[in-house]
């Protein structure tokens, strides 16, 4: 089997890795019709985190994909929507400042760059249509186009199609030279931005009647990287968008630094544009959509799959994909590839693994000893009740429960009577995941909780790139995979841990605050990892936090930092729920991105909240190392977590001072908690 080509395909999980024509790789998302892109006359703002598929969507909408040469037939009416993709070249655009050139000239230079780049794109779109299977017009029609009227913008512009395109490309090079050496080279004749582009489109429509009803949709990617004054210019284009030239944006959350335009009016949501949050739109359909993408990739690697690629690539196929039978088929197939385990199966696994059974028994003994109970540990480790046995140690550690009461309830369960394990107190349901994670221990073998396609989807949290990487890392570990067999649980869980560690390191490249964000995730993840090690599991699965009162308020910079963390999807911001005090003001809670859960060996589910003071949050965001150490020590003591319970892979640094202080000649060797 062509496993190499398969791995190659799966590893290309960024749109930038593909050509501009992404048609064969694209799966039309189920929410596509909601975007109303083909008939809309109002700009669209596409929001979403890193890896959620913004660029892929924009490229699919662009002429290179719409009129892909790989499409065997393209309906005539396809030319009513012509997409022009423009990924803002921030490296180049950041050069547009100072150096003896006044701001007005740089403003004009920005318009000029837009005119050239979009002008070339408009002309390229004509070629895309002409050479495609769309029968609207052919290449010969391009040769007879006359662009003489554009000389009004620059008298030296040629009037023929091919020469005009070459002239714009030549202007791009000479413009590049001027921007690089603006003091010494003569200023070029600046073209008038969107006005030039609109004029070019009018000329084309006046000479190609088939395009008279066509609308041109500019898709500007990575808007967040533009300087604020450049965003104001783009905002102006948005505000004044009208057919046949509509501007649309794609960006991460919290990225629109200004809603101002270059005029007196600001942009207003709904009135001037519509926002579509891709992750919110996917929501419940994510797992099915992700499975379809995975299967399309497998299909491109010539593997048998339950999907028909042509249906996935076409908006017309969405209805067929809503069929429950089809959806069940996809779900069954993907579950066969990445199987998971029920909690019962996971618990049974412990009983077939001697070291884990021993560890479970030891934890029960430890709890009984701590409680001063003489009961027999074997009474709480029952192969006939594996799930209840897993949660027993946590219950026994709780001073509010008498060990003999727990034993009595376990006996009732075993005898089929009403009991607290499955009854109204639902001990198993509430404590299983936390207890299981604790049992597997952070230094132990891969935990089955992190296996299964549904689990992968929850870890990915709407991020297609994360999902594909989890699948890719799993398949990569299968030496002789035949394209059909399911990936074993341990292999998946181990792959999840590897991918999680890899994505954690990636945080450091998340913009200018990347290193600080990385430190923040490490600090927060460590705190949550300690929370998960609480012997009582009294608050199991704490994976998110809210911010309560403290002695110091968060500064604007702290708030900006949290926004930056949301922008780069290392945490998710959600309206606060389950407030214990109804009098508290409305706030937000922040969920650590679940993709980091396998690394920190914590739950990926949003279950219980940790209420942090502003002081604690400040330490996590910008505290010194000593303050972080003190915070972790304080919570560890409050939660009665022994340092020996913590993962050496996570917390070895707390005993690192000796190494770090060697430079300074210190012989001090600090130990966490001592």
């Amino acid at each position: 089997m062509a496993s190499h080509s398969l791995q190659g395909l799966l590893s290309k999980n960024r749109a930038e890795e593909l050509d501009l024509d992404v048609w064969q790789h694209f799966v039309v998302p189920p929410f596509f019709e909601k975007l109303d892109l083909y008939t809309a006359r109002k700009p669209r703002v596409i929001l979403g985190g890193r890896g959620c598929g913004k660029t892929m969507l924009l490229r699919y909408l662009s002429h290179q994909s719409t009129f892909s040469r790989l499409r065997k037939s393209i309906p005539l009416d396809t030319i009513s929507h012509i997409g022009l993709y423009w990924r803002a070249d921030t490296h180049f655009l950041n050069l547009f400042t100072g150096r003896g050139v006044d701001d007005d000239r740089w403003h004009s230079a920005f318009l000029h760059s837009a005119a050239i780049i979009l002008g070339i794109e408009v002309l390229a779109s004509l070629h895309s249509v002409a050479v495609s299977s769309c029968l609207a017009f052919d290449e010969a029609r391009l040769d007879i186009l006359d662009f003489s009227k554009l000389k009004a913008f620059d008298a030296d512009l040629p009037h023929k199609y091919t020469e005009l395109r070459a002239a714009l490309e030549q202007r791009l090079w000479s413009f590049q030279a001027w921007v690089n050496n603006a003091r010494k080279l003569p200023e070029p004749t600046f073209l008038a931005g969107e006005v030039f582009v609109a004029a070019l489109i009018r000329e084309i429509q006046s000479q190609i009647p088939e395009l008279q009803q066509a609308n041109y949709f500019v898709y500007i990617d990575e808007y967040e990287n533009l300087k604020e004054w450049q965003q104001r210019i783009v905002n102006t284009w948005l505000k004044h968008s009208q057919i046949p030239l509509i501007f649309n944006l794609a960006m991460k959350r919290n990225s629109m630094r200004t809603q101002q335009t270059t005029g007196p009016e600001s942009l207003t949501n709904i009135h001037d544009f519509r926002i579509h949050d891709l992750e919110a739109l996917l929501d419940d359909d994510f797992s099915l959509f992700a499975a379809e993408i995975l299967f399309l990739n497998l299909s491109l690697a010539n593997q048998p799959t339950p999907v028909e690629p042509s249906i996935l690539r076409s908006p017309d196929g969405i209805r067929a994909r809503q069929d429950p039978k089809y959806r069940d088929g996809i779900r069954t197939a993907v579950r066969a590839l990445f199987p998971d385990m029920t909690h019962r199966e996971m618990a049974e696994r412990v009983f077939s693994d001697a070291p884990l059974t021993l560890k479970l028994r030891q934890r029960v003994r430890q709890a009984l000893s701590q409680r001063g109970s003489q009961l027999n540990a074997d009474d709480f480790v029952l192969a006939s009740q594996p799930e209840a046995s897993i949660v027993s140690p946590s219950l026994l550690f709780r001073t509010s429960l008498d060990p003999s009461y727990v034993r009595a309830e376990l006996r009732k369960l075993d005898e089929g009577d009403i009991n607290d394990f499955t009854g109204s107190r639902d001990w198993i349901h509430n404590n299983f995941v936390g207890s299981y994670l604790q049992l597997y221990g952070p230094h132990s073998k891969p935990c089955p909780l992190f296996a299964g396609f549904q689990t992968f989807c929850q870890l990915a949290h709407g991020n297609i790139r994360y999902l594909l990487e989890l699948c890719h890392t799993s398949l990569n570990r299968m030496d002789d995979w035949d394209g059909q067999q399911g990936v074993p649980i341990d292999v998946q869980a181990d792959a999840a841990r590897e991918a999680s560690a890899s994505f954690l390191r990636e945080v450091r490249s998340s913009g200018p605050k990347g290193l600080q964000l990385h430190g923040f995730v490490l600090r927060l993840g460590s705190l949550l990892a300690i929370a998960h090690q609480r012997p009582t599991q009294s608050e199991p699965e704490q994976t998110h936090f809210s911010i309560g009162a403290g002695s110091t308020s968060l500064t604007n910079e702290d708030q900006d930092f949290l926004r930056e963390a949301v922008k780069w999807s290392v945490i998710y911001e959600e309206p606060e729920t389950k407030k214990k005090d109804v009098g508290e003001p409305e706030g937000f809670e922040y969920v650590l991105a679940p993709i980091y859960a396998p690394y920190f060996h914590i739950s990926y589910r949003k279950k219980r909240k940790l209420k942090l003071s502003t002081d604690d949050v400040i330490v996590l965001v910008r505290g010194s190392y000593e303050q972080v150490k003190e915070l972790l020590r304080r919570y560890s003591a409050a939660w009665e977590v022994e340092p020996s319970e913590l993962a050496p892979t996570l917390f070895s640094h707390l005993g690192d001072e000796f190494d770090e202080n060697q430079d300074a000649g210190s012989e001090h060797r600090g130990r966490f908690g001592h």
């Binding site: 990924r87 490296h91 180049f92 010494k184 890899s502 600090r523 190392y625």
Partner: protein, 297 residues
Amino acid sequence: MKIRMQEASTAAGLDISRWGTCIHGVALDDRGNAAVTFASANSARSLAASYSSESFQLTVGSVSVDAEQAADALNGQINGVTLLETTTLGFVEIYLCVKALRCMGAVDVALLYVEPRDYSGLRRSHLLHRREFDLSDEVPGFRPIPGATLVTTSHTSQRAVFFLGYEDRRLESAFEGQHVTPSDSSVVFGVPAFSPGWEMNSFANNIRVLKGSNIGTIAFCGAESPAAAYDVLAEVYDSLAPGERLIIGPIGTKPNGVGVALFAGTHPDVGILYDHPKRSVKRSKAVSGWHLYTAEL
């Protein structure tokens, strides 16, 4: 370009003649102090240089100019053969000075580089260390350099060459935020490294990014050799397809960066992607090998 290279275990082992002017940066560690002391003692005049990636200003001595006017900053301040003290100068200062010297008709340039005996906190491990929890300064990120910034669009074609060091984050940031795709990129490891085994740090740290990136090609050149770096670039440059441009990412060793500066300083059509890292105080310990390079411009 002819690049002569000398190496000695101490400064006394270098075969030198006095230089007219030495241009140096700020010394932040033992080797920096040793290098600036040596360079100044053997030059008729010493000038400190610095570059601001925010304002694009180059300052040499007391003269500040925009980057594209680097020659104006050197004009009237230098005399005879110039020594660039590259241990303390940043990459951009070296590049702008090389470009300016060539523009001014200099025949050759000397470049000094002193190795550290060890880097502080340079460990390779799967365990977390305190330094990962310590807060780091903001990384300025990839900021353009006037005179070395190419425009990229859907219709331009470019090949990138990255010289790699210890920090995988730098390569990853380039792929994340810049218009270069891994498949159109080559990465160059500094092998042999300054000390046996150091190359493993670079491999281990970068392997994660390379594994997930479909990198075009992987190459190797001596970590302490500007000439080898220059040759790698010349080879790629000569193999560019018509219309294809070369973008260089000097995010590896300083000597490799010197090779990049010499190449880019004499090839105005190439672009540079550089992330302007802030050098930390006491980043390295003690002094090891001394290198003197002389390049004909």
